[in-house]
Symmetry: C2
Subunit: 614 residues, 2 copies
């Protein structure tokens, strides 16, 4: 390609709207333009790199036998009503009503469409497993779209769905995806952090996220420098630690009885530390949560028999539309609401209102405590107690808690002796500095999710009535896996990882062109030499672009660095018959013969590609 | 590819919903499934053919230097407000409002998006011409989606937009597209009928449609067997013909005065033929139309000075929001409302209501006539009169017309003597049997539009304020061309043109695979021979699929014919070491050695591709 024949739309200045490197560089290098809030257009150079990302993903999907489909982007609302997600997807899903009043959805994901398609094709166990995918347009109405295509509203996603007769078959396919995803990200030149949802003690995994580090990441990752543990803060767990007393020694059991202390206006942990002149580790923080659509069985919990419980008409599961729980946790720790929701199998948890707190505990915020608390299940974080019903063990001892009266706290509280939980669980927010089960100390990073593989189970096949006949001719419900990669976000992440002050420094696999030839002036011998290199490289299967523009050399050099072609060959009068060969990521250029420059370019590109691919 | 590793989803029966061959065969061969009304999913085999169509179009676009972009499918409503089409696109454009109340459009076409993108990049005449395109998802809310992807709601379109400093530059690019489109359709194996909008007398062309014949086509084409004239009935014109009298002789001027005849209840042309015992050619049919947004200057027309006229705030053009015109046409002909709208530069025309007709003409439907008609412009079709203001010539003579009184007609009416038109024009519907200007007789076909190339002018660049600086540093507005091809419709049309009773018979260029190998049973020597052919063909760059399914031979044969692979090689015990070689479009198969079957396959595929490409 000659530059004069494509659209080189570089910008000298950083557009004010762009705050992260990939967004700035995609705009500045002329890959991308904004069409609306969270809506973008790829220009020709950007589209070339975009297609390369897409094709690497496609090749690896095809390699594991996944079958590409192309469903419509706009799908009938009734599919989403069938699955039950019409109600639950919320405002992030863009809906429209057409001229005949039919409800339509601009696909934010495609479990429903693929489940419906497979439902119609599937009859026998012999057809299973089936693995399907698409690489297609999606739309999610981000509340605050920003960072360019890193968090846009419209984007392209590779989404795959697999269907299985057995858990073993799902596990096998899931493992293939886990390997394929690692290959994809390697080929893209991306350092990803695979994060298992339930890594550690539980063994096995039903979900893995592939994260890239990013200062503006949506997620916080907890990482172990020693054993490689990596988890999203929403799921991370840590080794139990021993609570200390003020003197720094492990807390010990007390024989002293509970004592009420008047604590007027002493509400926060900081207030308490000051008032009692001790550390926050000696306090049991007691927090009441309101819980929506809790599917955990609370029949035997305090107050559980009085709770309104509903059977879901479609899924047949029981849940409590609304209930309350009390959490006890060590004073220096925070409750992780994602972990709590997951524990309770709940749609959502939120801090109870002041009114509810007083009604349920008898005391206002700051003075709630577990001792004597009735009619509401107490859940102790493992930092306070461990064990199971009938067999609970105190971890904290001789603690302070709220007194369930205004301006009163209790001292010498012994968990187990003075109150019993309904259950114990891990609901703490793990942070950098906490201890890994391997003994090392966690550190933490911000990250963005690039991909996700997930064992879905029968959620969709059940609600959408998918069955096949097994070996005995009996109808069975297949189990599913789903597997996503954001194409635009992967592209932006490549730039985040591969750039410097001058611009992008593309890995060879996704560079818009491999080699740029820059004649200082496109005339006379410089022209004929540039043309010769151009033709020779093309003949050798190298993707090459020739800067034939009538621009000053400085502009051409700056553009080549900004756009970030992996190899640059400068053809200037000064060096002829030699030329200057430069690899974008190396500081120094070399002067060499035309033949050497050509063969070095070919060698470099081919070796880079083979390195990325293997 | 092995068939067991992809999704072969053939159906024995025609689904009831499908009435045309392409829709039936796309469903039966397992290329396509329905997701909703006018919404489809391509399954793996269908997607392969779809991508081939897409790629042929892409290659030819790239070959003429068009630059591929990828704008979002969802675009801000404000872009459509800028161009003025937010109001005019009507219900066919799908709109949505997102969570922050922003108006969004699911792109039905992309003049706005590309004009906005180029507006931001364009500064100097040196950048022009620029030709851009995309191959992307579109949505148009068809009132009655049917015939599968031939008229779906969501579809993929290749839409190109070019920007120019001069008309000559636009003409040049337009001509390149005209050639590229012919190449594309040839490579796809499609017989298209290029239809110029204003072919014939006017010279030059600003628009060309590429039609395929179809019994269920949206359009009617008028075709000349001799000179190659081809026009959409909406624009077709024909040679003038001489009106005859009852005896079959040319009508002659009469000296007789107009005579009123009582014609109680005689309203239609058929009634009149019977009543006056003559042919419909002797009657002047007089029809009153209500016209919306007429931009033709009617200042000097009867009643013209009293008409309300408005200046368009954006485009600065004057138009009449509402007016009426009377059309006189020979009794055996029909008025073409598309031609009439175009003549009047109007948004729409419709037959006037009975009330308006009586108010304007004094008589009810059936008795309207031009004699004595005031305050409304009379437009004579060329079948009645020709010539220009001040110089009109009668074509019909001694005619019958309505009497402008209930139950009264007039005889001996002489156009020119008894009434004068405001203007004469060609507004007749041309039909098969009419005469071409070359003298031959037209025939007619139904067709579907596959592609369209069009000189847009400055409609969008003007309304959206696109300018560039010319050689003298003065801002100028670029002129545009636009060029579309429907990808899905092209694919369906290939099947319409290439099928028989057994199924599809793909041209090699778009077949999902070139060769199918069918072992009668996939075991023993049949397996090893089939595998050898499979590997050899793959090595030679042939796209091959092996039917390794555990199905009866009859099922495999039927499937191969239904899906329509261009070449089939059957490996059966009976013929070994020979195999059966069959070309899908030929009746007879041949028994030959494995080596011959391989080389014949390669030769056939390569020769077919080169024939389609040249």
């Amino acid at each position: 390609m000659k530059m004069s024949q494509t659209l080189i739309a570089t910008l000298r200045e950083n557009p004010a709207e762009a705050v992260i490197a990939s967004h700035q560089l995609m705009l500045r290098s002329g890959m991308l333009r904004k069409l609306g809030n969270g809506l973008f257009a790829y220009l020709p150079l950007g589209l070339r790199s975009f297609r390369k990302v897409e094709n690497i993903i496609r090749e690896e999907m095809d390699a594991i036998g996944a079958l590409e489909f192309k469903p419509s982007v706009i799908v009938p609302g009734e599919l989403w009503r069938e699955s039950g997600r019409w109600e639950t997807m919320g405002e992030g899903m863009l809906r429209a009503v057409n001229r005949v009043k039919a409800e339509l959805v601009v696909s934010p994901t495609a479990e429903e469409a693929f489940t419906a398609l497979i439902r119609d094709e599937l009859s026998s166990y012999k057809q299973l497993p089936i693995t399907t995918y698409q690489i297609n347009t999606k739309y999610r109405d981000e509340i605050r779209p920003r960072y360019g295509v890193m968090r846009g509203r419209e984007f392209t996603m590779k989404d795959a769905y697999s269907f299985h007769a057995t858990q073993e078959s799902l596990d096998e396919t899931y493992d293939k995806f886990a390997v394929a995803y690692r290959r994809i990200f390697k080929r893209l030149g991306l350092s990803v952090i695979p994060v298992r949802a339930d890594s550690g003690a539980m063994g096995g995994s039903g979900s893995e996220e592939f994260m890239v580090e990013s200062d503006v990441g949506d997620d916080t990752l907890i990482l172990c420098p020693k054993c490689g543990y990596a988890a999203n803060t929403e799921k991370a767990s840590c080794a139990p630690d021993i609570p200390k007393n003020k003197a720094g020694f492990p807390q010990t059991k007390t024989d002293a009885s509970i004592e009420e202390v008047s604590t007027p206006g002493v509400k926060t942990i900081e207030d308490l530390e000051r008032f009692f002149d001790t550390t926050s580790q000696e306090f049991i923080k007691t927090i009441i949560y309101k819980v929506y659509n809790c599917a955990l069985d609370l029949t035997t919990a305090p107050g559980g028999t009085n709770l309104k419980r509903i059977k879901d008409s479609e899924f047949g599961e029981y849940y409590y539309p609304e209930c309350f729980v009390t959490i006890c946790i060590r004073g220096d720790l925070e409750i992780n609401e994602a972990k709590l929701s997951s524990l309770l199998k709940a749609a959502e948890v939120e801090l109870a209102s002041e009114e509810d707190i007083i009604r349920l505990s008898g005391a206002p915020v700051g003075f709630v405590g577990p001792v004597g608390l009735k009619n509401i299940p107490i859940i102790c974080d493992f930092s306070v107690m461990t064990g199971k019903s009938g067999n609970f063990f105190a971890v904290m001892h001789d603690a302070y808690t709220g007194g369930r009266k205004t301006d009163v706290h209790l001292r010498h509280v012994e968990p187990g002796r003075d109150f019993l939980p309904y259950m114990c669980a891990d609901v703490r927010t793990v942070v950098a500095g906490d201890t890994c089960s391997c003994g090392a100390t966690y550190y933490s990073k911000k990250g963005n999710e690039l991909g996700h593989i997930f064992k879905l189970g029968t959620k969709y096949t059940k609600s959408m009535n998918v069955t096949y006949l097994d070996e005995n001719g009996k109808p069975q419900i297949p189990t599913m896996g789903c597997y996503g990669i954001g194409v635009d976000r992967a592209l932006a992440s490549i730039i985040e990882e591969h750039h410097d002050d001058m611009g992008i420094a593309w890995p060879v696999s996704t560079a818009p062109y491999h080699v740029v030839i820059v004649p200082v002036k496109y005339e006379n011998e410089m022209k004929s030499v540039a043309d010769k290199i151009y033709e020779d490289l093309k003949t050798n299967g190298i993707e090459v672009i020739l800067d034939d523009r009538n621009e000053r050399p400085g502009v051409k050099f700056k553009d080549s660095e900004l756009i970030g072609f992996p190899v640059r060959i400068v053809v200037g009068d000064k060096n002829l018959p030699n030329v200057e060969f430069k690899i974008r990521t190396l500081d120094n250029s070399q002067i060499m013969s035309v033949e050497d420059a050509i063969s070095k370019s070919i060698d470099f590109i081919k070796s880079q590609i083979s390195e990325l691919n293997n």
